[in-house]
Symmetry: C2
Subunit: 168 residues, 2 copies
């Protein structure tokens, strides 16, 4: 079961700070087939249904060149998730796991990251497969998939630094 | 050259909204060998130098179970980056690319994502290789690397949905 708002046996919550340290701007909205959290995939699949990523102005120009990439990384804000859980019981069976050892939406900064297959782009709409989020999820970033991207700028000294321990 | 604050030939900026849509809490701090943006790697490498991820309270308990994963996904806030560029010239040569077709730190929501190799954990300190960020970078999330993670909760209907177009 997807968590709605309940706290489960064995779970541990903390108090969120009252002040935030940085602000996000929603740069678009993601349209998916899933309008109920009880139906969303646990994990997207690259042969999954097409989803449409709508990019808002003034960010549409920033899509220029994205079609060079077969896969993109999509970051989104899991706006319905609770943020105060440090230990969670995904199977609701009394066994708990640390939030950072899970890819659950419930986390202090509820940001989802997915790798999606680019199907096409038309104006402000990027069509993809591979997402797993709820219809209406706010978009926060799009990047080329990391292994497909080669930096355009020249390398810097850190690009050549390797293992400093002699043990690895 | 890494961008410090300059605007380059051909680049395009927009006005950031005055109000943010969501808030982030910094849950830790990343310690790396790079204290100058002119030295950071463009992209981390899994055989790179060890870096230490310091997790702040009350989030340390959320690391429970993380050692099951050889690789983790790390999200951090690129706190020195400008956020208003939609077209950028990474090589500073007059050729521009959309921000979403780059993995540049300068983006509307300057969140970096890296896959790092887990070296070890001791208390609140997670030691990894593979990061590329500046010393002192704020941490915003840690997750198991996606391909290594199997959801613990039972699947939902969306997990079985595939391609709806018939076109592949």
């Amino acid at each position: 079961m997807v968590r709605l708002h309940e706290l489960r046996a064995g779970e541990s919550v903390v108090e969120l700070p009252s002040q935030m340290d940085a602000g996000l701007v929603f740069i678009g909205r993601i349209h998916t087939p899933w309008t109920d959290r009880m139906e969303c995939p646990r994990q997207g699949r690259l042969d999954g249904p097409t989803c449409r990523i709508e990019v808002f102005e003034p960010w549409v120009a920033a899509l220029d060149g994205i079609t060079e990439y077969e896969q993109i990384e999509v970051l989104y804000w899991l706006h319905l998730s609770r943020r105060d859980l440090v230990l969670q019981s995904p199977a609701n069976d009394g066994n708990v796991h640390g939030t950072f050892a899970l890819r659950t939406p419930a986390r202090p900064n509820p940001i989802g990251t997915s790798i999606a297959r680019l199907v096409g782009i038309e104006g402000a709409i990027v069509t993809v497969r591979g997402l797993d989020c709820l219809d209406g999820t706010p978009l926060i970033d799009i990047k080329p998939e990391r292994s497909l991207f080669t930096p355009i700028a020249p390398p810097q000294p850190g690009d050549f630094e390797i293992d400093d321990s002699g043990s690895g």
